[in-house]
């Protein structure tokens, strides 16, 4: 049962082979058994069983959706009514959300069961899950390595079969990089496709929620329910959500894949390049055409991102003032002192670093040199993608330059940590949809991910190519040892 796809689980639930309550207990038991991975901040046992009971009644009444009764996990960045919502921070370690994020409501309305809230880098700032106030997550493939971040808890939980699917959020690679490190499938939809309402804001022009699953087919089912036009999100796109499973008909002979030369350099680990090239050969054998494309400003994506993301973060995180919610210092002299002490105690080191760098880039005298320069560069990066998509349908490359690194390996060097996002951050700057799919392992048995990038509002083609690839290959079905 733990290796069933979401469709297979739905079929089993409808055929009464298993009830949602039984399925929920099965995963709750696994979460407890493999608690050492530290994938969950909160396990939602009692409410999950109530939701499962309601789902069973709904299935019996023949009112089920394709996701009714399926237990899932939510990244702790999503507000969940009456459940602790910490965002991986001491600042919100006492915050029981009074409302649901739109994606949480959408998935709940479809009848999913919330197993709990997954661990993450504090305020989604990190690429290793080590900045979490609740301790690092371990990668189930090799527990001495990181699961990636910031959605590290969600990716590790799906990889270890502690949840059939999970939600994540991606500001610079936070779904795709952990998906690559944990050997699972992770999709960042186009900016505006999925509502940001109730997703605790990091960088509002970059943040996008998406699913982390074991296959492209499961990702399509999750996205189908997560995506919606939401008047509560001012940048939500008012466009009909297509039936993603219907997009699975397009043959690969109709597809041209763009291979950016900038993504295949000496900066990428040789084993990663080899696995991604192998996957591209498979796609060619399946009929796809390839063409070399040029993304000339691709090296500047990281410098540009590390101005824009912290700048937006410094503004967004000013809301944490110890007045309306979250941590308040116990002793202070006056209001200003209360703000400063509450924030300094509530935020961890990486969050403070990003708030300061963002404040610096926006401060008088530096605004033009840093922030405005980054915005100009952002347009050049967007233009590069637009030109590339004149020659191809999708862009293909590695998700990350390396496989999972050791816990603690980069914790003292922020710049080395930031370079993990070299192939993912530019996609957020451009608002494009992109997905990581497993394409192999390095000699140490650590998973390797391939990234598929699509034009704006075109996740359908990505899902189709990934789905067809997964019908030809079995990388996505591999499971870490010791989690049976």
């Amino acid at each position: 049962m733990i290796n069933h796809s979401l469709t297979e689980l739905a079929t089993a639930l409808r055929a009464k082979e298993i009830s949602s309550v039984e399925l929920t207990l099965l995963f709750l038991d696994r979460i407890a058994r493999f608690g050492d991975l530290n994938t969950f901040i909160t396990v939602n046992e009692e409410m999950a069983l109530e939701q499962a009971k309601a789902a069973d009644e709904r299935i019996a009444a023949k009112e089920a959706t394709p996701l009714t009764g399926i237990p899932i996990a939510h990244k702790d960045i999503f507000c969940t009514k009456d459940i602790l919502t910490t965002c991986g921070s001491k600042m919100l370690s006492n915050f029981v959300s009074p409302y649901n994020a739109t994606i949480v409501a959408n998935l709940a309305n479809a009848g999913t069961v919330t197993l709990g809230k997954t661990n993450m880098d504090e305020f989604a700032m990190g690429s290793s899950n080590e900045t979490s106030y609740f301790g690092p997550v371990k990668n189930p493939w090799d527990t001495t390595t990181v699961p990636g971040g910031s959605s590290g808890g969600s990716a590790a939980a799906v990889a270890a079969r502690l949840a059939p699917a999970a939600t994540g959020s991606d500001t610079g690679g936070s779904i795709r990089q952990p998906a690559a490190f944990c050997g699972v499938t992770g999709l960042k939809p186009s900016y505006g496709r999925v509502s940001r309402y109730g997703m605790i804001a990091f960088a509002s022009s970059l943040d996008q929620a998406g699913p982390i699953t074991r296959s492209a087919e499961d990702a399509a089912l999750m996205l189908q329910t997560m995506a919606s036009f939401d008047p509560k999100d001012s940048t939500s796109v008012d466009k009909v959500v297509p039936n993603y499973l219907d997009e699975f008909h397009k043959d690969l002979s109709e597809m041209t894949l763009g291979i950016p030369k900038q993504y295949f350099t000496d900066g990428v680990d040789k084993e990663v390049t080899k696995a991604v090239e192998g996957a591209i050969r498979t796609l060619k054998k399946m009929g796809a055409d390839t063409v070399e494309v040029d993304l000339p400003n691709s090296d500047l994506g990281i410098p540009c991102y590390y101005v824009i993301a912290p700048a937006e973060a410094s503004s967004n995180l000013s809301r944490f003032d110890g007045v309306r919610y979250g941590h308040r210092a116990s002793e202070y002299d006056d209001l200003a002192d209360m703000y400063a002490k509450s924030r300094s105690e509530g935020f961890g080191e990486e969050v403070k670093r990003r708030i300061m760098i963002g404040t610096y880039a926006l401060s008088s005298g530096y605004y033009d040199a840093y922030y405005n320069k980054a915005l100009k560069l952002r347009r050049l990066i967007v233009n590069d993608f637009a030109e590339a998509f004149e020659q191809c349908d999708l862009i293909v490359g590695p998700t990350t330059p390396t496989t999972a690194f050791e816990l603690g390996g980069k914790a003292d060097d922020p710049v080395a940590m930031y370079l993990n996002d070299i192939y993912t951050a530019s996609i957020n700057l451009a608002g494009l949809p992109a997905m990581s799919v497993p394409v192999g392992f390095d000699k140490g048995g650590r998973p390797i991910g391939m990234q598929l990038i699509g034009p704006y509002m075109d996740a359908g083609d990505i899902l189709n190519v990934a789905h067809r690839f997964q019908r030809e290959t079995d990388w996505h079905t591999k499971m870490p040892e010791g989690y049976e």
Binding site: F95, L335, K341, R343, Y360, R378
Partner: protein
């Protein structure tokens, strides 16, 4: 350009963060490394390029001017560190 200890104190104050003397040194060092990374942007020629602050590059959606929120004050104040009689409590600002 490197970030000085004076810059760190200035920026920390703007961001309402208190940093100890040890932390000032620490942040000056690693913010300088981040600034060195972002200064790679200078490699790009961006004269006459229009800044782009948002991927949609479009004006925000407008909506009808009517009340859509329901009153959830009590729910929201339940999670406040200090609230009373529908008000958020903070240290005295005006004597």
């Amino acid at each position: 350009m490197s970030v000085t200890e004076k810059d760190v104190r200035y920026v920390a104050n703007l961001a309402r963060l208190s940093v100890s003397d040890d932390e000032v040194k620490f942040y000056a060092d690693n913010l300088s490394r981040i600034v060195a990374l972002v200064e790679q942007m200078n490699d790009a020629q961006t004269d006459n390029v229009e800044p782009l602050s948002h991927p949609q590059d479009a004006p925000l959606r407008l909506r009808e001017d009517r009340v859509t929120e329901v009153d959830q004050r009590d729910d929201f104040q339940k999670v406040a560190p200090a609230a009373s009689d529908g008000l958020y409590l903070v240290p005295k600002v005006i004597e």
